[in-house]
Every structure is written in structure tokens, then in C-alpha cells.
Symmetry: C2
Subunit: 343 residues, 2 copies
């Protein structure tokens, strides 16, 4: 199993990325090769810090980095020697099966979509975020690849999210919900009303609309939305989580009794703080491209990078892409057979 | 000051509503008249429980109630004697200046928009939610009145949200942000990119796009979005708040030390629990209709109803609607003068 890691991406650059890579190599013997793509001297210096001489590492030099202020498509066209572009090239050439990047999300999406193209039958890739619910996890797709999808793109998201939920997260027959603002089929936007009809006709385990206030109460295993709404949800959750802990800290400092209480219970706070901190998470697969692409949070910790590499390995092992191709093919076959035969 | 209260709306019906009404009358002497609209025997029974014989109360009988499963516009057309319709009628006739309802949000929006019409110059009303940020509050508009607005509707939301922020919340020159998924003008959906251009040309204190992860970090005083996104944000925040407290409770029960800590700090938890609990909040003004309309949470506590009545009173006192009309008029004048003179 061969993975290409963009060693320059992310808010903290090579130190966190290389540290996460070393952790992953120690924990996952089934990673056969790990390409670290980026500035060779910086990567070598980081590897030296960890006394890492793992023979599975191969450094691939790239002289450029996509900066956060770069525009996604421009960056792919102009910075041909960027770490993310070079990493995607390794997948294109067949040297690696997956790419992991914590850099500019738009650039990773654009580079992958432009260079690798989409899987047969898939029109638009979608980012799948795995989010903890009250007692479990669910997949939110699309978390930001495409702000203005057409209804049929959202049906593809539902299919791809179901495949990921089944083959990587292990849900036998994942239930699918459509993010909307009312639980009836007549409620929602023009877009969601159209998607509702299409999902109802599909073979998916579709449970109808779900509303924001049920999102974390485990209503379904896959939540479908457009990339604008998905991105807003993901980032708003981080923001409200931060706010709640700041408010709580402020309240806990108000009296000595509360301070003692907070000290005694501190480990509980730390556990939950981490749970809402998406920077700790393993990264989000960009589903629908012809290759595995895992997008990690810009502020990824080394542990998050390690988890992103694990997500890449699992997606390869579980053959997520062949399963998507098969499910999408069957969906299109069924949709075609349902069409009126009038021509 | 005269206010019409839909006494039947909300998940708990007359008990919570009437209880909140009694609290409001005791606290706010400037409420001159309070119409309680709904089933007379039920309302009288509730008033009796509170030994309330306040002469400012007038019961207006209505024989029907809009149920949660009713479709909004249908309900307004068919249930002509519903409590929410009758309450709006009181505003239409000039007997009251404001309506407060904790019932079916869609029906309240539809009844108000159909019967009272919009203010001069306003095309679409928008729901303004006042949300606590890390250290303050901000207005989120539209929180769910209109799922598919046109760009010009969102500019109206920005103007109306600014007026509310200034005249009711007291911000001198409220800053306005556009909810989007990137901080640059080139990022976002087709809709937000168009709105961005229009807001930039306006006289508003526009600060550009804001992203979900900054939402609670006090970036601006007014956040503009379409009603679909706004409703998703509002309800998702409730949901993640609930989830965080459930996770925390679970962690706090894990050891005896933590349980003792939680007991000592319990008041801090209660305070924050209430802060994230929108059921405690005072209701959201529907801005842009020709009359004051405050929409309270379906699960409103009596205190929330009291606060909703206060919001109605403040909107009347601060002349929110005349200020909106004036600001919208000036905006349209400026927009017309900027148009190319070619015809």
C-alpha cells in the first residue's frame, strides 16, 4: 500500500506532518511506502528530529507550496511544482494509491478533480466528514467541495456516503437523511425538494428530511447536503463548541467551590474538548475522484495526520472506489429503466 | 401599547403562554393592553390558576389552532378562526401593534405576510434571531422565513438586521457580515458572491464574508444568510449544545472524583446550559412586515414568553418599522442613482 503525503500543507507545515507520518509508520505496518512530498531539506530535518530512517519513506521534492490566499484552480494551473500537485501526480502515475493533504482544501479538491478526474458515473466529488453524534458517528456529505450542486450531484453524495459508511465505518445498511428545515417532503428549499423526490425513488435506505436540531441525536448514518450548507455546519459546530467551553470556563472561575469542582472533574472536560475539536480528527475523504484523497484539517495535530493516513489506508483496503463505481452504475441503470420510454 | 398574544401556540399550549403573559404584565407596566387569543375556557382556567384579574387582559376567542403538521399557507387560508390568524387580524385592524406567537412558525410568517403585507420597499420579510456570541450577542437574519431568497432580499435582510441591532440592541453602527465558506469575495455560492457585491456597494458597515468557525467569536453584529442556512445554523447549534452536555454528563459520571467535582460546579453547568438553550430566549422578530411580529420557540418556557412580549414592546417603543422603511428607502434611492442611465 502506497500513500503520498503533502508534507508542506497545513497551518504548522512540515513539523506536524512529518511527526504524524512517523507515528503512522510505527503503528501501521501495512503501509508499504510513504512518499513525503515537499521541500527536501525541511523534510529531512524533521525526520532527523525523530531519528527516523524508515526505509518505507521516500522524499519527493516539490519547490512550491499553495498558500491559503491562493485561488484554488489558479494554484493548480500556475504552481505546477507545488507539494499538493506533485503528490496528486504520484497517484496519477500509479506510484501511489492515495494522497493525504492538510493544506489548502480548495487546491487539494481542484488538483485531484483536474488531474485524476472523477470515477466513472460520478459527476462531482464530495467531501465526507465523519462527525461524532451523541452515541456514535455519522457521515456529512458534502462538507465543502461544491457550493452549488445540482440535485443529481446530491444523489451521488448519498450513494458515496453510504458506501463509505458501510465499507469503512461498518454500518450494514446505512440510513440516509436529507438535511432540510422541516421533516416533511414539502418543506425545504427548491433544491432539497427536488433531491427528496430523487432519493425516495433510489435504492438507498432513505429516511427523509432531517433537521438541524436532530443532527447529533443519531437520526441517520449519512446526512446529505450541498457543500455550502455542509461547510457551514462543520465550522459552526467547531465555533459553538469553542464558545461553550469559554463560557463554561468563565463560569467555573467565578467561585472557589466551582474552581475546586472544575479541578476534580478536569479530565472529563479534556475528553469532551477533544471530541468537539475537529483538529484532532483524521481527515475527510474526497469521494468520487479516481484515486483516494484524504483532506486533513489545516490545524491538524500529528495525531490527526496519523489518523488521516489510517483513513487513506482503510479506504484503499476496503476498496471504497470500486464499490462506489458499482453502486453508481446500478443507480444509473435503475434510473434509466424508470425513465419513460418515449423518445 | 397593545399586544396580541397567540395563547394556543407552542408545544405546551395555554399553560406556558398564559403564565408568561402574567409574568410580563407584572414586570412591564407600559404594556397597556394584552389580547390573549384562543380558546376562552382554557385561557380563563389558566388565568384563574394565577389568580390573575389584570384589567389590561382581554380574551379574544378563536375556535381553531394551527397544528404542527398543517401546511403554512393552507392553514392561513382554511383555518380562518385559528388563534394565530385572529391575533394577526387584531394588528391588521389597528387594535394591537404587535403579535407574539410560539406556534407553527410557517403559519405565523404566512399569516403576517399575507394579512399585513410587507413594509414599503421591502420585498420579503426575514426572521432575525438574536444569538449569544462568546462575549456578546449578534443578529442572524434570515433564520428561516425564506429558503430561496434572491440577492436583493438578502440585502434587505442586512438593512433590517442593522436597524434592529442599532435600535433594539443598541449598537451604534452595527457591522454586517455575510455568511459564507471562505473569507474572500471570490469564495462562496453563486448567491453569496452576488450578495457580496451588492453589500459592498451599500451604505452598510459591511465587513465581508464570515465563516462558520468565526461565528461565535464576535466578528460582526449582524450575520446575513438565506433562510435555509440560517435555520440550519440555529437548529444545529441547539443540537450540538445538547450533545456536548450529554457527552459531558457521561464523562462526569465515570469516576467518584469527577462526580464530586461536577456537584461542586453544578451552578456553572446550569448557567451555560440555559445560555445554549434557545427555549429560554425571547423570540425572534419577523422583520419587514407591516406590524411587529415576534416568533417564540415552540418549546418556550413562561420566561421565554415573557421575554418575547418584552421584545415586542421594545420593537414598538424603538420604532423599528419606521426606521426600516426609512433605511430601505434611502438604500433604493442610492441604488437607483448608481444605475447606468442608459435605458
Amino acid at each position: 500500500m502506497k500513500i503520498a503525503l503533502d508534507a508542506m500543507g497545513g497551518d504548522f507545515g512540515p513539523p506536524n506532518i512529518v511527526s504524524g507520518a512517523v507515528m503512522a509508520l510505527n503503528e501501521y505496518p501495512h503501509i508499504g511506502k510513504l512518499f513525503l512530498v515537499g521541500d527536501t531539506p525541511q523534510i529531512e530535518a524533521e525526520l532527523k528530529k525523530h531519528d527516523c530512517t524508515d526505509g518505507r519513506i521516500e522524499i519527493v521534492h516539490a519547490s512550491q507550496v499553495v498558500e491559503m490566499h491562493d485561488r484554488a484552480v489558479d494554484a493548480v494551473r500556475r504552481k505546477k511544482d507545488s507539494s499538493v500537485s506533485r503528490a496528486v501526480d504520484l497517484v496519477k502515475k500509479g506510484d501511489a494509491a492515495a494522497i493525504v493533504s492538510a493544506g489548502h482544501t480548495g487546491a487539494a479538491v481542484a488538483a485531484t478533480a483536474i488531474k485524476l478526474r472523477t470515477l466513472p458515473g460520478v459527476d462531482r466529488p464530495g467531501i465526507a466528514a465523519v462527525i461524532p453524534s451523541e452515541t456514535n458517528v455519522f457521515v456529512l456529505i458534502d462538507a465543502g467541495a461544491n457550493s452549488d450542486p445540482r440535485p443529481e450531484h446530491m444523489v451521488e453524495y448519498a450513494i458515496m456516503g453510504s458506501v463509505y459508511s458501510r465499507h469503512v465505518l461498518g454500518y450494514e445498511n446505512p440510513s440516509v437523511g436529507l438535511m432540510s428545515i422541516g421533516d416533511e417532503d414539502m418543506k425545504g428549499s427548491d433544491l432539497t425538494k427536488e433531491v427528496f423526490k430523487m432519493l425516495k425513488q433510489s435504492d438507498l435506505n432513505f429516511r427523509g428530511n432531517i433537521e438541524g436540531h436532530d443532527l447529533f441525536a443519531d437520526p441517520v448514518e449519512v446526512v446529505v447536503c450541498d457543500g455550502f450548507v455542509g461547510n457551514v455546519i462543520l465550522k459552526t459546530c467547531e465555533s459553538i463548541g469553542d464558545a461553550i467551553f469559554k463560557w463554561l470556563k468563565h463560569e467555573l472561575m467565578k467561585t472557589k467551590t466551582r474552581m475546586v469542582g472544575a479541578y476534580l472533574a478536569r479530565n472529563a472536560f479534556l475528553t469532551i474538548r477533544k471530541k468537539v475539536n475537529y483538529e484532532e480528527y483524521g481527515g475527510m475523504p474526497l469521494l468520487g475522484v479516481n484515486g483516494i484523497c484524504i483532506i486533513a484539517h489545516g490545524a491538524s495535530t500529528p495525531k490527526a495526520i496519523k489518523n488521516a493516513l489510517r483513513a487513506a489506508a482503510e479506504s484503499i483496503e476496503q476498496q471504497v472506489n470500486p464499490h462506489i463505481v458499482e453502486k453508481v452504475r446500478r443507480h444509473h441503470e435503475k434510473a434509466t429503466s424508470l425513465e419513460p420510454t418515449l423518445r
